[in-house]
């Protein structure tokens, strides 16, 4: 009853047979052991499970593993390159854009996608752009600052 899938996860080719109902987030966490991607809700509201699928942010609780067949996935574990943090990771650290850290992987990957489409967003655009990601610790103040810092760093 397993369905064979093949996809790229953080640059590595993965082949696996999966149950058709298996969610991508459980595939990443329970099958591949990539637990950086978090689960914060069961209604696709919180965004903790956000990953990049072919470069775009998706909520991996809302994608079946079989739907990811043939795609390229980037999780938080695959964002830093050559031991160097992505500018968005750096900016979250710099601006104290995280406290408990649970929303952070999803938040960072959403911001990566946001800055891809809006390289120099206004504060209002940042706040609107983060609509799909909930944070309960920061009041978003320093997350917004982090996005501004990252935008500036990436624009250079």
């Amino acid at each position: 009853m397993g369905v064979p899938i093949q996809l790229e996860v953080n640059g590595q080719t993965v082949r696996q047979e999966v149950e058709p109902r298996l969610l991508l987030v459980h595939f990443l966490r329970d099958v591949l052991g990539l637990t950086g991607t978090k689960i914060g809700c069961d209604t696709s509201q919180c965004g903790a499970c956000t990953v990049l699928m072919d470069g775009h942010a998706v909520k991996s609780c809302t994608v079946l593993a079989v739907q990811a067949d043939g795609s390229s996935i980037t999780t938080i574990e695959g964002l830093a390159q050559d031991g160097k943090y992505h500018p968005v990771q750096e900016a979250f650290w710099e601006a104290h854009g995280l406290q408990c850290g649970y929303c952070t992987p999803g938040m960072i990957l959403s911001v990566v996608d946001l800055l891809e489409s809006h390289p120099s967003p206004s504060e209002a655009e940042i706040r609107e752009g983060l609509e799909g990601n909930l944070c309960r610790c920061t009041g978003y103040h320093n997350i917004v600052r982090a996005v501004q810092i990252a935008a500036e760093a990436m624009g250079k």
Binding site: T43, F92, W93, L98, T104, G139, Y140, H141
Partner: protein, 787 residues
């Protein structure tokens, strides 16, 4: 730096958090990230009824599913002979304490009450099996509303409390207050609802229990703010294993806000399952489960009155509150609407007469317990709304009325009429700073002008105080706490001079690893990088009480500073011996010991530590090694205070409230790390704004939680909030070694009242005198249109 001899500048420095690299790379391990060999998965069957009798449970179809290892019910718990109940940890003289079984036996009392547990080889199978369990329920009448629950004839939640009254409690001088009201020029009277809130830590609760039948030891990894409290209560009440056979570990914990203080049935259920199966068993709540079962906050219905004289001086405050307990008494539930609420009703004001009566009420709802601020936001909303209403009645500016009633700076320590002794404060200074930041007079002019154009701006103040860092153990014991309120710390200097600190605090996002290392680096004069902080493991740490009530810096940090100073005292003896000098002639500065006047001949802490461990040449009678333990019991609470100001604009056509500006001036004493302190304030404000404008748990007539998902319950999003403008004044705490107070709850305690006051201020032209949070567009529209 208070001790005067630390690494210069590290205390008070806005350094980036050392916690973050593991969090921004996804390497941090939270409970659900852990996998143990042979691990099975648990799922918990929960009651769909708010009140029902369980006639029969048939688990046979669930057990027949491939991959299902076991299904346990109350009968199995009973047969195993374990105590099987979760206890309440705060007693009041009149408190009724009906048992709270870990699995419901013959009756369920709220939607979410645990009925059975499935253990299976994988998550999906465990959840499949839940649907295969047949429970024959006989639904019974339920009551979810706190006022309806105390009406005659309301369905009783527990036989032990047929009138649903869990307790009654009072504080203050009833007769004196009544007399004071007779002298009043004006009396403000408001019916105030502190809306029920759902904590929503982003990480759902989880527990991974690993019982080893060979040793009889249980290791429990769980989402906890206080591992030792969980171990104690599991040993005493729910599981009954000896305390030394239970190890509770808090891995990375994704936020708590109070909701991970309490001992829930769930960690006991998975522990029981692991003991039965001899395998590790993991349970992780779905968000739906966290909505139904994480202890909720607030849920007060209050009638509050304030009397003032003709000069605007407060004569008295009279408060009567009904506070929901929910279906069972959660761990610290009785303390929240009593000692954390009634004692705060003096606010920042010199009030000669206060009386408060509280009725704790059982309802067929999720239990209610401490949620960020716990009692103090409720009290602040009551007092700050009353002050505004009094100003309105007297035709005074609300700022002026506050000013006339502040406890003046020269009146500390100040004994309130509701038990607390405020140790220090300068309320006017924080207010002035806030007024300057918002340019108050200019705003009032703009407001006038805007009103002429049909635009409705409002400004709201919250000149708040809180009592946190609970506080002396003997006192809280007299008040009913079944726990101590001190904190432990071990500061261990290794032979090479590197330092490991073991703290009884248990952070879950607050940045303890950074701030505590800053404290120790400052105290010992060692590089910050040389200090490691260990928390959250009952096997590694002496007994500790954990992180809640904004206590970690004030109590946990004070324990660390005390232990570090004991290390210095011992090192000084060794240094004196090595330098062949008298101990009193030794100077300790920047991590070095030298004889007064001879700084060139110094011994570093590392050099002294190596000698302490080698023990070849120690002063006579001195034990080897270099470490110290402190169990720090504070002399008093700490009292952060400040002024928060909200500016809103209300759209009269839609009732929509826009929060345009938010200014916060807080006094949290000495600041260890400004970056982290500001972050705590920001997050606190957001949660209080959530209560004011967006959040509110709603039950229907049958006791169903209508706001049961993130789709139905409005956790604030980024675009709901403005950037926050923060500043502070510094009035150090006079009674702890670091002069620090608490910061975790301040923002939440202050902000709800500020925002609600701002909305009412905006709506004054419509004759609106009060609105209860959440002040939704619908409520505002109805208030404007008299609907």
């Amino acid at each position: 730096m208070t001790h005067g001899n630390g690494t210069r500048g590290i205390f008070g420095s806005a350094i980036k958090r050392r916690e973050d690299p593991k969090l921004i790379t996804g390497r941090a391990k939270y409970t659900d990230d852990l996998q143990l060999p042979g691990m099975a998965y648990a799922a918990i069957l929960r009651s769909p009824f708010a009140h029902a009798r369980i006639r029969h449970i048939d688990t046979s179809q669930a057990l027949a599913l491939e991959g299902v290892l076991a299904v346990f019910t109350a009968q199995d718990v009973e047969e195993a002979g374990i105590p099987g109940v979760v206890p309440v940890g705060w007693l009041l003289p009149t408190l009724k304490t009906p048992a709270h079984p870990i699995l419901a036996k013959d009756r369920v009392r709220y939607v979410g009450d645990a009925v059975a547990v499935v253990v299976a080889e994988d998550r999906y199978t465990a959840h499949d099996a839940l649907e295969a369990i047949q429970v024959d329920y006989e639904p019974l009448a339920a009551v979810a509303d706190v006022r309806q629950a105390v009406e005659p004839g309301a369905p009783a939640v527990h036989e032990e409390a047929p009138d649903n009254v869990a307790f009654t409690w009072e504080i203050g001088d009833r007769e004196g207050t009544d007399t004071a009201f007779q002298q009043a020029a004006h009396v403000a009277k408001l019916d105030i609802v502190n809306n029920r809130l759902i904590p929503n830590a982003m990480e759902p609760r989880a527990a991974l229990a690993d019982f080893d039948p060979a040793t009889g030891e249980l290791t429990l990894y769980m989402t906890t703010q206080n591992p030792h409290i969980h171990r104690l209560l599991m040993s005493l009440a729910s599981i009954g294993l000896p305390e030394h056979k239970i190890r509770v570990v808090a891995p990375e914990v994704g936020g708590g806000f109070g909701s991970k203080i309490h001992h829930y049935v769930d960690e006991a259920i998975v522990s029981f399952a692991s003991m039965k199966l001899g395998r590790p068993v993991k349970w992780t709540a779905t968000r739906t489960e966290t909505y139904q079962t994480d202890a909720h906050g607030r849920d007060h219905v209050t009638t509050a009155e304030m009397a003032i004289d003709g000069e605007g001086k407060i004569l008295g405050v009279r408060v009567n509150t009904y506070a929901a307990m929910g279906a069972y008494l959660s761990t610290f539930a009785p303390a929240v609407p009593t000692y954390l609420y009634g004692t705060l009703l003096s606010g920042e004001y010199d009030i000669p007469h206060i009386y408060c009566h509280v009725t704790g009420v059982f309802t067929h709802t999720t239990p209610v317990d401490a949620y960020r601020g716990a009692g103090r936001p409720e009290a602040t909303l009551v007092i700050e709304r009353l002050v505004d209403e009094c100003a309105h009645l007297a035709g005074m500016d609300p700022v002026e009325l506050r000013r006339r009633n502040f406890v003046p700076p020269d009146k500390f320590p100040y004994q309130t009429q509701v038990a607390l002794v405020y140790d220090s404060g300068n309320y006017e200074a924080a207010l002035e700073k806030a007024l300057e930041k918002v340019d108050y007079q200019q705003f009032r002019r703009e407001q006038e002008e805007a009103r002429r154009q049909g635009r409705y701006l409002g400004i709201g103040f919250s000149t708040y105080i809180e009592a946190c860092g609970l506080a002396p153990s003997a006192l809280v014991g007299q008040l009913g706490a079944q726990a101590g309120q001190w904190e432990s710390a071990v500061v261990r200097v290794h032979p090479t001079g590197k330092v490991t600190v073991y703290s009884g605090s248990s952070g879950h996002g607050q940045g303890h690893e950074t701030t505590f290392a800053q404290i120790v680096a400052a105290e010992l004069g060692v590089p910050y990088e040389d200090v490691e902080i260990v928390e959250g493991d009952t096997e590694a740490i002496p007994h500790g009480w954990g992180t809640y009530g904004s206590r970690s810096a004030a109590v946990g940090g004070s324990a660390i500073a005390t232990a570090a100073r004991r290390v210095v005292d011992k090192a000084k003896k060794i240094a004196a011996h090595l330098l062949e000098a008298a101990e009193e002639d030794i100077v300790f500065e920047d991590g070095k010991f030298y004889v007064k006047g001879s700084p060139d001949q110094a011994k570093t802490l590392a050099e002294v530590s190596l000698q302490a461990y080698l023990a070849h040449n120690l002063p006579k009678g001195l034990e080897p090694a270099l470490e110290a333990t402190a169990f720090y019991d504070p002399a008093n609470f700490v009292f952060p205070f400040g002024t928060h100001v909200a500016i809103v604009e209300v759209d009269p056509e839609t009732g929509q409230v826009e929060l345009k500006r938010y200014v916060a001036v807080d006094d949290v004493g000495n600041v260890i790390n400004p970056l982290i302190v500001d972050g705590q304030i920001h997050g606190g404000i957001a949660q209080g704004v959530g209560q004011a404008l967006y959040e509110g748990a709603v039950y229907d007539e049958s006791g169903n939680l209508v706001t049961g998902t993130m789709l139905d319950y409005a956790v604030p999003k980024a675009h709901f909030l403005p950037a926050f403008e923060t500043d502070r004044t510094v009035t150090p705490c006079p009674h702890n070694p670091l002069g620090v107070k608490g910061v975790g709850e301040a923002g939440t305690i202050a902000s709800t009242a500020a925002v609600v006051n701002a909305v009412v201020d905006a709506l004054r032209p419509f004759g609106v005198t009060h609105l209860n949070p959440p002040v939704t567009a619908e409520k505002v529209w109805k208030a404007i249109h008299g609907a």
